[in-house]
């Protein structure tokens, strides 16, 4: 299939906007910063908050004296957990994945114990930010250390030290999905008992930090007993509900505004302790307050992502037919449960079977408490972990069976004619063609030539070896059917809301509940509405992010915006046209049934010349001098859309990787991906999402890792040690698309926000392993640092054994207590 439908001019209207590669209308203001980033907000009399944060991972606060800080210049107030213990409640957790899940509660500010480095211990409120930060240093605090729990495999053992004294173990929950019991598959134990071949592996999903570009920031304004919270959040609507419930501010007295927000990647899908504390401080003082984090604060205290240990077993016949899949996870919750902390692994629970026809499947997951900052949503949330595990173990099975890894996949994947296909996990995959995407990707990569080069390098013993990695993936997105979320015990639905206001001059305001934080909603929604209403692209303005303007919505995450929020916009536009049709019939003195609507104009069938534009109708109904009896004088409309199924983008990603066996340095030689994300509204936005997603998925494979030392200190606390790749470190991406429209929404869109991030990580790791497997390497721990790759080649194992310790932020001087690591090895 071709990239998109032909977007050229139709006989009786302007060119179609959907499919048009429009430049993003919001970019000029976002890129220049000349906009309403939260930290740009200044309110009259605004005070500034700064936090004293715990330098220890687990301790009781034995002494806390803030009197000296109160005496510092320009300090207005200093608060501790004692000041808010009766009103701070707990940070909400909206996803109790099992009925008996243990949630010890999550205070926004520590009251008598601290459970991770970076937890808030005291708040200074001052007239300037500098005064607040300076006064923090005058606070006198002592801690009495408690045993630190960091390693999940240790934490779940009997008799392990506890993170929370109030609990009987470090296990928060045990979540099970068994296809045999659910009736969607056969008995897993039997499948493994009868298996001709089994392969078992333990994979580590390292801890990652979302690392959005704009730091978190919150400003609270006070108007009597009304509060307005501006926040760099992905979820103003959810934050309003949860903020009201947590603080006791009545929901109708709390307005939340997410102005322009500079990235989130799931990291701003949160009710942050600092947002709650800003509300509490503003209420206590009756004055506006602001808090903006530093980058160090962000890396240390904003929620992290991933962090799973995966035990995965696959059963197969000798001919390669897979017969069973068993997954056990340990998922690091960190010290507390935040908004959807426990649910992230559950989002992956149904995706481990991937695109393959496993007859039997069992999934188990333990959520485990440790003395680290909580984990929560991070781009892909559960699905990258599942995709990594299945795509890695398919390669391992191919090695075990001495089969070509693509042949093994082809033998087991769902074929095009089998759609819609109900998987062993009970999901109904809507549409796609894995073979077609794979063929296109193989051509994009130049697969055969690279295989030949790999052979040459291997035979000549070249110090730089070449490998090719495969990832044939699918994901579930377009979150989500509300009833399905209910069946998974999620605390909210998955619908989305939109309304359209027709202004007297014919201009159009589109209000969306799907709040963007950089995705390009304003452009894409304008394209959709331009087509639906037949108005110029430039005449459409998209409003979002303010609960006083957009009263209903469920915000942006899970590749849901276009699929769910975009569909709500289509539904609202259909209602506008239906309402306008009645006015048009009245003014044209025709029957509604005789009218046709095309190119923004109603006309009587058979007389296309005469007619009435929808923008003219907007003015007519504003004046309201002449409209039919029995209807309201408005063509504005509102719609909510609740999908009946997820959507299932898929694709084939191929990575060619060079490995320098002398140094362990890996270089992506070529990367090719062909994705099916359904109908494409804006090819430029799609390309941008793919590139960003690929960068992020490749970064998990090669660069990023949040490392805690043995005492629970985050040693990767700056961007010198927590490595994000730049364009200079990444290859040219060769991307393509196949198009099979989604069947669950009228746009046919499947979602693209997470695809690149989900698909790429295993392709990269599989490629590195393919390059050096003949040297005896069977696994390399992510990220594939040069040191780990070198160790795996020269010393065996996965290269990840050496506990990373210390930080070299400024030259290695702080490596250990003595300042210098001994050259012992």
């Amino acid at each position: 299939m071709t990239l998109t439908e032909d977007p050229t001019t139709t006989a009786d209207g302007p060119a179609k906007e959907v499919g048009n590669a429009r430049l993003r209308k919001e970019d000029a203001r976002l890129i220049t910063g000349k906009t309403t980033w939260t930290d740009n907000m200044v309110l009259p009399g605004m005070l500034h908050m700064a936090f004293l944060r715990s330098p220890v991972a687990h301790a009781t606060i034995s002494h806390l004296d803030v009197s000296a800080a109160k005496d510092r210049p320009n300090v207005v107030a200093v608060y501790t957990g004692q000041d808010f213990k009766d009103e701070q409640g707990t940070i909400p957790c909206a996803w109790p994945v099992t009925p008996d899940m243990v949630n010890p509660g999550h205070p926004s500010i520590a009251v008598d114990t601290v459970n991770h480095v970076g937890e808030a211990v005291a708040i200074v409120v001052a007239r300037t930010r500098t005064a607040a930060v300076d006064a923090v240093e005058a606070i006198d605090v002592d801690y009495e250390n408690l045993p630190v729990v960091l390693d999940m495999e240790e934490a779940v053992k009997d008799g392990a030290d506890l993170v929370h004294a109030s609990t009987s173990s470090n296990t928060s929950y045990h979540f099970v999905f068994d296809a045999g019991e659910a009736g969607t598959g056969s008995d897993t134990d039997a499948a493994f008992r009868d298996a001709e071949v089994t392969v078992s592996r333990r994979f580590v999903q390292q801890r990652l930090i979302p690392a959005f570009m704009e730091p978190r920031s919150a400003v609270v304004g006070v108007q009597g007993d009304n509060y307005t919270l501006w926040s760099a959040t992905q979820i103003p609507h959810i934050l309003r509900v949860m903020g009201a419930l947590t603080t006791g501010i009545p929901e109708h007295k709390l307005r939340v505004v997410a102005p322009d927000v500079g990235g989130g990647f799931g990291g701003k899908l949160q009710v942050c302790p600092e947002e709650i504390l800003a509300l509490l401080v503003a209420r206590r003082l009756g004055k506006p307050v602001k808090w903006t984090e530093t980058r160090s604060e962000s890396l240390m205290t904003a929620h992290h992502g991933r962090d799973q240990i995966q035990y995965i077993d696959v059963a197969a016949k000798k001919d390669g037919t897979v017969t069973g899949l068993r997954v056990r996870l340990l998922a690091d919750m960190g010290a507390y449960l935040r908004l959807i902390t426990p649910g992230v692994p559950a989002l992956g629970a149904f995706m481990f079977p991937g695109i393959y026809k496993f007859p039997a499947y069992r999934f188990e997951c333990d959520g485990v408490f440790t003395n680290k900052v909580p984990t929560d949503a991070y781009r892909g949330a559960g699905r990258p972990e599942a995709t990594f595990a299945i795509e890695r173990i398919m390669d391992e099975l191919a090695v075990e069976l001495d089969m070509d890894p693509m042949e093994l996949r082809r033998k087991n994947w769902i074929s095009a004619e089998e759609f819609p296909f109900t998987t062993v996990a009970g999901l109904e995959y809507d549409s796609g063609d894995y073979e077609q995407a794979t063929q296109a990707a193989l051509e994009l990569l130049g697969y055969d030539e690279l295989r030949a080069e790999q052979k040459r390098r291997r035979e000549s013993g070249d110090p730089v070896q070449l490998g090719i990695g495969i990832s044939t993936f699918t994901e579930m997105c377009g979150l989500a059917p509300s009833r399905v979320l209910g069946s998974l015990s999620f605390g909210a639905g998955g619908w989305e809301q939109a309304s359209i206001r027709m202004l007297p001059t014919g201009k159009v305001e589109v209000v969306t509940g799907s709040t963007p934080h950089g995705q390009g909603h304003e452009t894409a929604w304008s394209q959709i509405v331009a087509d639906e209403l037949g108005v110029p692209f430039e005449d459409v303005e998209v409003l979002h992010g303010d609960t006083a303007i957009s009263s209903r919505g469920l915000d942006t995450y899970g590749s849901r915006s276009l699929v769910v929020g975009g569909t709500a916009v289509v539904k609202a536009a259909e209602k506008v046209v239906a309402k306008a049709r009645k006015i048009a019939a009245h003014l044209l003195e025709a029957s509604e049934d005789d009218l046709e609507f095309s190119g923004g104009k109603f006309s009587v069938k058979g007389t296309p010349g005469a007619g009435l534009g929808i923008q003219e109708i907007a003015l007519a109904i504003f004046a309201a001098h002449d409209y039919p009896e029995g209807i309201e004088p408005s063509i504005d409309a509102e719609a909510a859309f609740d999908p009946v199924n997820f959507s299932f983008p898929h694709g084939t990603h191929l990575c060619a990787m060079e490995v320098d066996t002398e140094t362990g340095f890996v270089t992506i030689r070529k990367y090719a991906s062909v994705d099916d994300i359904g109908t494409i509204v804006n090819p430029i936005i799609v390309e941008g999402q793919m590139h960003g997603g690929l960068a992020q998925g490749i970064a998990q494979a090669l660069y990023e890792e949040a490392i805690y030392d043995a005492d629970g200190n985050l040693t990767t606390g700056t961007f010198v040690d927590y490595l994000l790749p730049s364009a200079a470190d990444l290859p040219t991406f060769h991307t393509g698309n196949t198009v099979h429209a989604a069947t669950s929404n009228p746009l046919g869109a499947k979602g693209v926000g997470e695809a690149g991030c989900i698909a790429s990580t295993p392709a990269v790791v599989n490629a590195a392993l393919d390059a050096v497997r003949h040297l005896g390497v069977t696994d390399i721990r992510m990220p594939l640092t040069p040191e780990r790759v070198w160790r795996a080649i020269h010393q065996g194992g996965d290269g990840g054994d050496r506990a990373a310790e210390g930080s070299n932020a400024y030259g290695g001087a702080r490596t250990t207590e003595s300042g210098i690591e001994e050259a012992a090895q």
Binding site: T130, V133, D134, E137, T294, S296, E662, T663, F665, Y703, I707, T715, T716, T718, V720, D721, L723, P725, S726, A728, D729, T785, P786, E787, W790, R791, R802, A804, E805, G806, S807, N808, A809, Y810, G811, G812, A813, T815, I820, E821, E822, A823, A824, Q825
Partner: protein, 296 residues
């Protein structure tokens, strides 16, 4: 402002700067390009009482040649050094090394005096100065003196400068070259990302005669220990050889046999030693190939 409060002075002459530094005591700090100091201030790892901003001291911004030496003012930016015709002609290793210093924005601010005074064993400039027998002029209210860089670099972030001394100039003598030989040099740095702080590296200058015999060699090591290192032992292995691969491997082994790099999350001692050995090998081989090709 992220840093703790400090007093700020912006003198326009070396004399005024030296006076301020002498009066400022131990807590006074000099600010040049700020590429190391400002992050330390912003993270509140450093809390000087007084910052003396040298950026207005224009007499420190010169590059000139005199008596077979290149004299570079301490305030000259890395990008200006790297782009200078005399540097390219006489000290191509310095120009090559500067290409590894982070990113263009940082090279446009960072100064040769600043990186020299910072004495970071993993920085690019100090090791090249060591291999080039460079000297610095240290100025104070008490007068000025010359210090060979070999005597200047004491340990990590520690120099033999007195607290009241300012580096005003870096002096690099022209290399003495035997007639009929061709010199090649190479700088090989290893980092996880483009422009990152080095995990380790090696640098080499080799001088080949018409028969392809190495008459003179200098081998430098980046990030090998507490200060920039030069391996005379490795040079001895190379000299009077034809720089065959086995010989060069042996020289790289000798150069790194005793080193103790600082380990951290990006690599421990053992791995860094391996990386520095491999980079040293590649530097010598590349330098030799350049000499053989006559491309400097």
């Amino acid at each position: 402002m992220k840093p703790p409060a400090f007093e700020y002075e912006a003198p326009s002459t070396v004399e005024d700067a030296a006076r301020l530094l002498a009066d400022g005591g131990d807590d006074a700090k000099l600010l040049a390009g700020g590429q190391s100091l400002i992050p330390l201030l912003n993270l509140r790892f450093a809390a000087p009482s007084l910052l003396i901003d040298l950026n207005g001291v224009l007499e420190l911004a010169h590059i000139n040649e005199a008596a077979g030496e290149l004299r570079i003012g301490a305030l000259v930016r890395h990008s200006a050094v790297a782009g200078h015709a005399l540097v390219a002609e006489r000290h191509p290793l310095l120009a090559e090394a500067l290409g590894y210093v982070a990113h263009p924005q940082i090279r446009n601010r960072g100064t040769i005096g600043g990186t020299t005074a910072h004495s970071d064993p993993a920085a690019e400039v100090p090791v090249v100065l060591l291999m080039s027998d460079a000297r610095v002029i240290a100025h104070s209210t008490r007068g000025q003196r010359e210090i060979a860089v070999d005597d200047l670099f004491v340990s990590i972030f520690t120099t033999s400068l007195e607290p009241d001394e300012i580096i005003t100039e870096v002096i690099i003598p022209d290399r003495h070259v035997e007639p009929g030989t061709i010199t090649g040099s190479s700088f090989q740095e290893f980092a996880r990302r483009h422009g990152d702080y080095a995990i380790g590296g090696g640098a080499a200058i080799v001088e080949l005669d018409a028969e392809g015999i190495c008459r003179n060699a200098r081998v430098g090591l980046l990030g090998a220990g507490m200060r920039p290192e030069e391996s005379k032992a490795a040079a001895a292995v190379l000299e009077n050889s034809t720089l065959a691969e086995d010989t060069v491997r042996e020289a790289a082994r000798v150069a790194t046999a005793e080193i103790n790099p600082l380990g951290n999350v990006h690599g421990d001692v053992q791995y860094r030693r391996e990386v520095i050995r491999e980079m040293t090998f590649r530097a010598v081989m590349t330098a030799a190939n350049k000499a053989k090709a006559g491309t400097a």
